[in-house]
């Protein structure tokens, strides 16, 4: 009897007219950051053939924050980015974008669509395309096959590209092939490709590798200006650079978080001195 009642109750629940069935809910929803946290990484584990690349890693990134990740080679920085962007599957743990988007069940393009942009360690731009085309391809548009076939640049999009060209200082090179750019310019172009897509969260892997001191300085300025409107996570080896931009620094070591805080706090942390900064000194 009660089983039947349960069943009818469930049936009624199913047919409630003020609710939409879960599978009919539109997938694209605004990122819920009502708790000021945009990225939740919890209990992340990943091992490659017994080597623990990520070991119970916990990380919370606030909305609008500029966070630096540092750590020795093999500490899991790039692997963490791979997991967040959907390139690598983790063994266990959760990654949430805002409170409502489980990133682990999404593919790379879906994650990109949610507004997570990534710059690779090695600058990857489309070398056979011009600087302009590289930016055009990165625009935030409908990226289905047919819309892409019929796509036309709107004046707004052109403005946006021009604006970004101005920011990354490649206005003169707009019709140059990306393959002909210098290493530093490619780094900038890749950052530009992120900017033009208007992401919520930028994952930036070693942005100043191969840059001159002057370029490094401009990159630092750019990244600092991005924070606030965007959330930025920077992985970098260059400690000078990290000191110049960092508000909060997270130190990774052997796949888990070793310390977190301001640069000064981190530098005076005993564990950190032992495993990381100590080696350098």
């Amino acid at each position: 009897m009660s089983a039947l009642e349960n069943l009818t109750a469930e049936g009624k629940e199913l047919l409630r007219r003020d609710q939409v069935w879960p599978f009919l809910m539109p997938k694209q929803q605004a990122v819920d950051v009502s708790h000021q946290v945009i990225l939740y990484v919890e209990g992340l584990n990943l091992s490659f053939d017994g080597f623990k690349a990520l070991n119970d890693l916990n990380l919370y990134i606030n909305d609008g924050e500029l966070r630096c990740l540092i750590g020795a080679n093999g500490a899991g920085k790039t692997t963490l980015m791979d997991v967040i962007t959907g390139k690598t599957q983790c063994d266990s743990g959760t990654v949430y974008f805002g409170q409502n988007h489980n990133l682990l069940e999404r593919s790379e393009p879906e994650i990109a669509e949610l507004g997570i942009g990534r710059k690779f360690q090695k600058p990857t731009v489309f070398e056979a395309h011009t600087v302009f085309d590289n930016l055009e391809l990165s625009l935030k548009t409908n990226k289905g096959v047919m819309p892409t076939l019929l796509a036309r640049l709107t004046p707004t999009q052109l403005d946006r590209i021009d604006q970004v060209l101005e920011i990354i200082g490649l206005k003169e090179q707009r019709f140059m092939l990306a393959g002909a750019l210098s290493h530093g310019q490619k780094q900038w172009l890749e950052i530009g490709m992120l900017l033009v897509s208007e992401p919520r969260l930028l994952l930036i892997d070693e942005p100043v590798a191969g840059m001159t001191a002057q370029e490094t300085e401009r990159t630092a300025e750019l990244l600092t200006s991005l924070a606030g409107e965007h959330t930025v996570i920077v992985v970098e080896h260059d400690m000078e650079f990290v000191r110049s931009i960092a508000r909060t620094v997270t130190v990774l070591h052997q796949g888990s978080v070793l310390a977190e805080g301001t640069m000064d706090q981190v530098q005076n942390n005993k564990d950190v001195i032992e495993v990381y900064l100590g080696e350098e000194a």
Binding site: K87, P109, F126, T130, R174, S197
Partner: protein, 399 residues
């Protein structure tokens, strides 16, 4: 700002007619030449007496038609290989499937004029003691249905194959081997008599198409002209696709698939789409080829054929649509001449050609042409560039 807007608008509106300096961009001149040659050759065949020195024999017309359908096939391979970096060594399969669909229609047109005089069954079925048409031969006596099948069957096969392969992220040499296996498997299947496609002998002894006698000069010329038109049409369409943003995405996938994925493009969908498009062009080429050569047999599925197509494209210059067409025409012309002089030597010559092109002409003949042009027209082009900083000049250096 407004300057850049206008330069882009100008570029997209006039690229069909200008496109100078950009490899594969010379669309209008090429189409004009193609159509002019077609009209002249057709007129020379139909209007001039055989004694005239300008008379073009029907044999030549058919040969030209054959070359043009090969050129279309090369175009199909170039779209997928040159632009998207997917080296398909199985495009002969789509070509042959299109050919078989056309062949089935032509078989049904024979009616009771076959050797055995059966009103409905093709000769080979009577020979096998079959009493009725297999289900997949039904409807093939209707031209429209057969043409639909020309596109649908290879398109579906390409879709399924592409969907499975690209979704599982099979790339590079593994994909090439799979395409070879695909065409080889079809070769073996079509060799079997039980398949109902004429086995070893394939489909032949065609009589007429849409009521026109296949042996008559006018039909031959018409088929040649239609092939030329279809080549022009697929060339223009492909050019348009490659100029669109989709074309840029395709090249982006070739050069950095992971990057494209992180930008939000579902690269497997793009690859499947392009693969199906390319397979359909190959199938149309096959359907135009069969009535002109008068036979389709499983030999068309043989893996070596598919490899030959790749050589045509490489010789002409991959990643340039025009290069694929020119390469196919030249290599096939060479083949015709060479096999007449030294039949056994052709495969060696073809192999040597491939090695030489790979070593010395990585951009193919179109690349050589562009280099020569750039070399001779340097002072002029410089003043050109300064007045209009075009994408084209930049793109020239690419591919």
């Amino acid at each position: 700002m407004s300057q850049s807007l206008s330069s882009i608008a100008r570029f997209s509106a006039s690229d069909l007619f200008k496109g100078k300096g950009q490899p594969g961009g010379r669309v209008a001149p090429f189409v004009a030449i193609l159509l002019a040659v077609t009209v002249l050759a057709s007129a020379a065949n139909l209007l001039l007496p055989e004694s005239s020195p300008f008379y073009v024999s029907t044999y030549t017309i058919t040969l030209l038609g054959k070359y043009l359908s090969y050129a279309m096939l090369a175009l199909a391979v170039d779209v997928i290989w040159g632009y998207c970096g997917i080296l398909s060594l199985g495009h002969g399969a789509f070509f042959a499937l299109g050919g078989y669909a056309m062949g089935m229609y032509l078989m049904r047109q024979i009616g009771d004029r076959g050797v055995y005089g059966h009103p409905e069954l093709p000769d080979f079925m009577v020979f096998l003691d079959w009493s009725e048409l297999p289900w997949y031969w039904l409807g093939m006596d209707q031209f429209w249905f057969a043409m639909l099948m020309v596109l649908a069957v290879p398109g579906l096969l390409a879709y399924i194959f592409g969907w499975l392969a690209f979704r599982s992220r099979v790339t590079g040499v593994y994909l090439s081997i799979m395409t070879q296996a695909l065409t080889y498997a079809l070769l073996l299947a079509f060799f079997r008599n039980e398949m109902g496609f004429g086995g070893n002998n394939g489909l032949t002894d065609f009589k007429d198409i849409l009521g026109f006698d296949l042996q008559s000069d006018t039909t031959r010329v018409a088929l040649f002209a239609i092939t030329a038109l279809m080549l022009a049409l697929t060339f223009i369409t492909s050019h348009w696709i490659m100029q669109s943003r989709l074309g840029k995405v395709v090249v982006a996938i070739r050069d950095g698939e992971a990057r494209a994925r992180f930008l939000g493009y579902r690269t497997d969908n793009f690859k499947v789409w392009l693969f199906v498009y390319s397979a359909m062009i190959a199938a149309i080429a096959g359907a135009l080829y069969v009535p002109q050569v008068g036979i389709i047999n499983p030999g068309e599925f043989s893996p070596i054929n598919s490899i030959e197509i790749v050589i045509w494209v490489a010789v002409g210059g991959r990643g340039t649509l025009i290069g694929a067409i020119v390469g196919a025409l030249l290599v096939n012309y060479a083949k015709t001449r060479f096999t007449a002089i030294m039949p056994d030597g052709w495969l060696f010559a073809l192999g040597a050609l491939f090695v030489l092109v790979t070593l010395f002409l990585p951009k193919g003949l179109v690349g050589v042409y562009d280099q020569l042009k750039a070399h001779f027209a340097q002072p002029q082009s410089k003043s050109d560039e300064s007045s209009t900083p075009h994408q084209e000049s930049a793109k020239e250096a690419s591919v």
